[in-house]
């Protein structure tokens, strides 16, 4: 534990007069195995480590990273960060995290202590079981494109020349399966996953079943006639939708004119039953940590309450621009990137219905299980939302005819205003963040098909 922290401190202690230095150092142990046709297809193990260094000098910040953690390697990074700072624009909002006034509490549930004693053979056996169970789920499952088990044990340390010095550890284990089902001329794919802090929290059989069911459920899918109709997002697509709007809910996105929510603080931006919370301290949740990527303690922020926009999410710099404190929402894509604001664990609060009640309420609707082309069809600046979908027609609460090659469209603010119900079946989706997806009913969207 302390080795990494010593390394981080060793960098910040080299700060020259008049400058501040921040070091972020990680050391991971990663493992993954992919099974195909009952055998190991590939297996990977590694122990990557690296350091990212920022220097704040005369209201300018420079950054450099290195995988060379020798004294010379770290000196190179510090020197480059210092040199880079000279070419940035002077900005008096720039700062590193303020020193902690009190000790920061741990977030429970980030480490499964049993995980480090799991034998590689058990991990291999898990991936093979997942692949075989996906194949065995139904005779129409023709092949399994990928079945993967993976885990990671990461220690991260942060230090600043103003006195922050902390480290924490987290373990993660996850698996996923990609089933390909065929019936007659039609081929469809189904993806599902499971995640936890250790292999013991993963269930190969139910993950396989869900992946197969997602493919089987849309076999024989066809277009439907263009229409305006109610739409239900399943937990998977509901989580993806949150991921899209999350990008527009940081203070930085608003300050820089990159948000559809700009100028809407205190206004109604969603139906009255919509409440959206970001919480970096949910025990065990994928996006949880005691402090964020700048070393600021994480917190819980009500973003939307009763349909009214309450707050954006901030890192140190975007907060200073508005004379407020960071909400502990700085994130990094590892030691190679400088921090920037992002959501931690973001979820809509359930409106109380069960999934079955919600489906019954939907009447005749389009049930969406996959979005296609989200990164091009969803624009968090303009609020445009137009994506391809695969799903089923819902009729009186029953999933019926499978549907594909149609698009759904509606401006994002109209989608939020059209939220009728959010079911209680929330699960965390770890794709590009951590988003709580629950079955969600939208009053009406444009469906374009034949």
């Amino acid at each position: 534990m302390s080795d990494l922290l010593d390394l981080a401190r060793g960098i910040t202690e080299r700060a020259a007069d008049g400058e501040e230095v921040e070091a972020y150092v990680t050391h991971a142990r990663d493992f993954s195995v992919k099974a195909y046709d009952g055998e190991v297809e590939s297996l990977s193990s590694s122990e990557p480590r690296g350091a990212g260094v920022r220097v704040l000098l005369a209201n300018r910040i420079g950054f450099a990273y290195t995988t060379d953690l020798t004294y010379e390697g770290l000196d190179w990074a510090l020197g480059r960060a210092r040199g880079n700072a000279r070419h940035a624009t002077s900005d008096d909002a720039l700062a590193f995290a303020p020193p902690w006034e009190e000790p920061v509490a741990d977030v429970p549930g980030l480490v499964d202590e049993l995980q480090s004693s799991v034998a590689p053979d058990d991990k291999v056996a898990f991936a093979v079981e997942l692949e075989q169970a996906t194949r065995a789920a139904d005779k129409r499952v023709r092949t399994v494109e990928e079945s993967v088990y993976a885990d990671s044990d990461v220690e991260a340390a942060v230090a600043t020349s103003s006195g922050i010095a902390a480290s924490y550890r987290e373990t993660d284990a996850w698996c996923y399966s990609l089933a390909i089902a065929e019936d007659g001329d039609d081929t469809e794919v189904g993806f599902d996953f499971d995640l936890g802090r250790g292999i013991g929290e993963l269930d190969a059989q139910s993950t396989a079943r869900r992946a197969a069911d997602r493919a089987l459920g849309v076999l024989g899918a066809t277009k439907i006639q263009s229409a305006r109709m109610p739409v239900v997002f399943d937990p998977y697509t509901a989580g993806q939708f949150l991921g899209v709007i999350a990008a527009a809910l940081t203070g930085e996105a608003v300050q820089k004119g990159r948000s559809l929510f700009a100028g809407k603080l205190g206004q109604e931006v969603a139906a009255a039953n919509v409440s959206l919370v970001d919480d970096g301290r949910v025990p065990g949740a994928p996006g949880s940590s005691p402090w964020d990527a700048e070393g600021v303690p994480t917190s819980r922020t009500e973003v939307i309450r009763g349909g009214v926009l309450q707050s954006f999410l901030y890192d140190v710099v975007s907060a200073r621009r508005e004379g407020r404190a960071s909400t502990g929402n700085a994130a990094r894509a590892g030691f190679k990137s400088a921090p920037g604001p992002a959501s931690s664990n973001m979820a809509l609060r359930s409106t109380g219905e069960s999934r079955d009640d919600l489906l019954a309420k939907a009447g005749r609707a389009l049930y969406v299980q996959d979005f296609h082309g989200v990164h091009s069809g969803a624009n968090a600046v303009s609020g445009d939302f137009s994506v391809g979908v695969t799903g089923r027609l819902l009729d009186n609460g029953v999933l019926g005819r499978p549907v594909k090659e149609v698009t759904i469209a509606l401006p994002m603010l109209d989608i939020l205003a059209g939220v009728v119900a959010v079911a209680g079946d929330m699960r965390w989706l770890p794709f590009g963040g951590s988003f709580g997806g629950a079955t969600t009913l939208i009053a009406e969207m444009t469906v374009a098909g034949a």
Partner: protein, 473 residues
């Protein structure tokens, strides 16, 4: 001898004797092949937003990955500690689970005759960060001069210098030295509550001379003009319509809808709509599609791939007929063909995957103005924001970032929110005209969690009928 002939280009000195020791260790418990991939990568990037140069970053990332192939199984371990001990430990991790007798390695390493390296006119390392920051400022000023509607400008500059060594127990010894550079401008414009964006991002395999071929101010002006034009956009129609694809960006449809399904890893698992279809005709004789990693200076080019196989040009469709595929070492072995030099990896931390390089619909016989004139009512797709495809089904969706309504053979007005939705083989069947006005566009392709620089390209192309998803029913 590799160490003298092929030459160790890396500043990290890993001697041939160490490489052989590591490969022997990797095969100590059996296996068919062991391979080491060593990479030393330096990057510089700068970003401007809100008229401020914000992120000035340098990076140094060096490491090695060791792969052991035993039957159908690949085991991989990597380290970013480049000592002999750490490499030997990675070799032992890569052979974990094997229990056979030691397998031999080649007595001599033989340098691979690689394709041409892509020339670097002006090494980015020789240009100071100050000049790069000034280029961003020039782009910013140019974009902001496009009109009061311009609300935000984000400019970024990035150069990457990557040196690699691939050596394998079969004697393969290959090196490459790649420099890539890209300059991107994104402009956000708004007027009366409408918001529109414009994006332009040329890149190449080469040096700082990119910014002489494409001046930052000109790149920014193009992006800004797109954003301002799209402010006038009306909602896109929805339904089946003829679509004209503009050169350059339109090539992303070929990449997604045809290229991915011809990557041999999907073919051998029969997870591709094109599996077992070689020799079948999918489109008219105007449809010839190639993947060409040798294209001089193109963004997706290289001299050897990340498995040490020389870059090459592969014909995928010839006059509408499926004739080729793309492969890496493993998928080639399974399919029973030599590898096509398309084994690429994001870094030493990644196993190689079958990837495209520069994928082009070759120029056709038609005149671009004639193509437009032939459409009574349809959509002109000028730029795409991206897209995705499911190789198993061939289904794709592409979002436009700049599109126009065509009425009576001419562009009538810009439209927003237009998505093209369809199926790869079906799309090839409706390519009715291909223009001679070929141009390239640069992008970053994602697959299995790895990214790779790729180029797309085509001339003005007419799709007779395809589903357009929009907001107006």
């Amino acid at each position: 001898m590799a160490a003298s002939g092929g030459g160790l280009i890396l500043s990290l000195v890993i001697e041939e004797s160490v490489v052989k020791k590591v490969l022997a260790e990797a095969l100590r418990r059996g296996g068919n092949l062991a391979e080491i991939y060593v990479e030393d990568r330096s990057t510089t990037s700068l970003r401007l937003e809100d008229s401020r140069v914000e992120d000035v970053a340098s990076g140094r990332d060096a490491g090695a990955g060791i792969r052991v192939i035993a039957g159908e199984r690949s085991s991989y371990a990597y380290t970013n500690v480049l000592t002999t001990d750490a490499l030997l430990e990675a070799a032992r991790a890569a052979r974990a689970g094997l229990a056979g007798d030691p397998a031999p390695i080649a007595a001599q390493m033989s340098p691979v005759a690689s394709g041409a390296r892509h020339p670097v006119g002006r090494a980015p390392e020789s240009v100071g960060a100050e000049a790069k920051a000034e280029a961003l400022q020039a782009a910013n000023e140019s974009a902001r001069a496009a009109g009061a509607e311009v609300r935000q400008v984000v400019c970024s500059y990035a150069d990457v210098h990557q040196k690699i060594l691939v050596a394998a127990s079969d004697g393969r010894w290959a090196t490459d030295d790649r420099t890539r550079l890209r300059f991107a401008v994104q402009v956000v414009a708004s007027r009366d509550g409408q918001i529109a964006t414009g994006f332009e991002a040329p890149g190449h395999s080469g040096g700082y001379e990119l910014l002489e071929l494409h001046e930052p101010a000109a790149i920014a002006a193009t992006a800004a003009a797109k954003a301002v034009t799209m402010l006038d956009a009306r909602p896109s129609p929805a339904g089946e319509l003829p679509v004209v694809l503009a050169p350059k960006s339109g090539g992303v449809l070929i990449h997604e809808a045809c290229g991915h399904g011809l990557e041999a890893d999907t073919l051998v698992k029969e997870a591709s709509v094109y599996a077992k279809r070689r020799g079948d005709s999918f489109g008219s004789d105007k449809v010839t599609i190639v993947d060409d990693a040798t294209d001089g200076g193109a963004w997706g080019s290289y001299a050897v791939d990340d498995e040490g196989v020389p870059a090459q040009r592969t014909v995928l469709f010839e006059h509408g007929v499926l004739v080729g595929h793309l492969s890496d070492f493993l998928s080639a072995r399974r399919i029973g063909h030599p590898p096509t030099g398309n084994g690429r990896r994001q870094s030493y931390a990644h196993l190689p995957l079958v990837r495209m390089s520069n994928t082009y619909l070759l120029p056709g016989p038609d005149d671009e103005d004639e193509i437009l004139r032939s459409v009574k009512r349809g959509v002109f797709a000028a730029s795409f924001a991206g897209g995705e495809v499911n190789p198993a089904t061939g289904n794709f969706v592409f979002g436009t970032s700049e599109a126009y309504m065509i009425e009576n053979g001419a562009l009538a007005y810009p439209i927003r929110g237009a998505q093209l939705i369809g199926n790869g083989p079906k799309m090839l069947a409706v390519i009715e005209a291909v223009g001679g006005d070929f141009d390239r566009g640069e992008g970053v392709c994602g697959k299995d969690g790895q990214t790779a620089p790729v180029t797309t390209g085509m001339g003005t192309t007419l799709l007779g009928r395809i589903t357009v998803g929009g907001t107006e029913t």
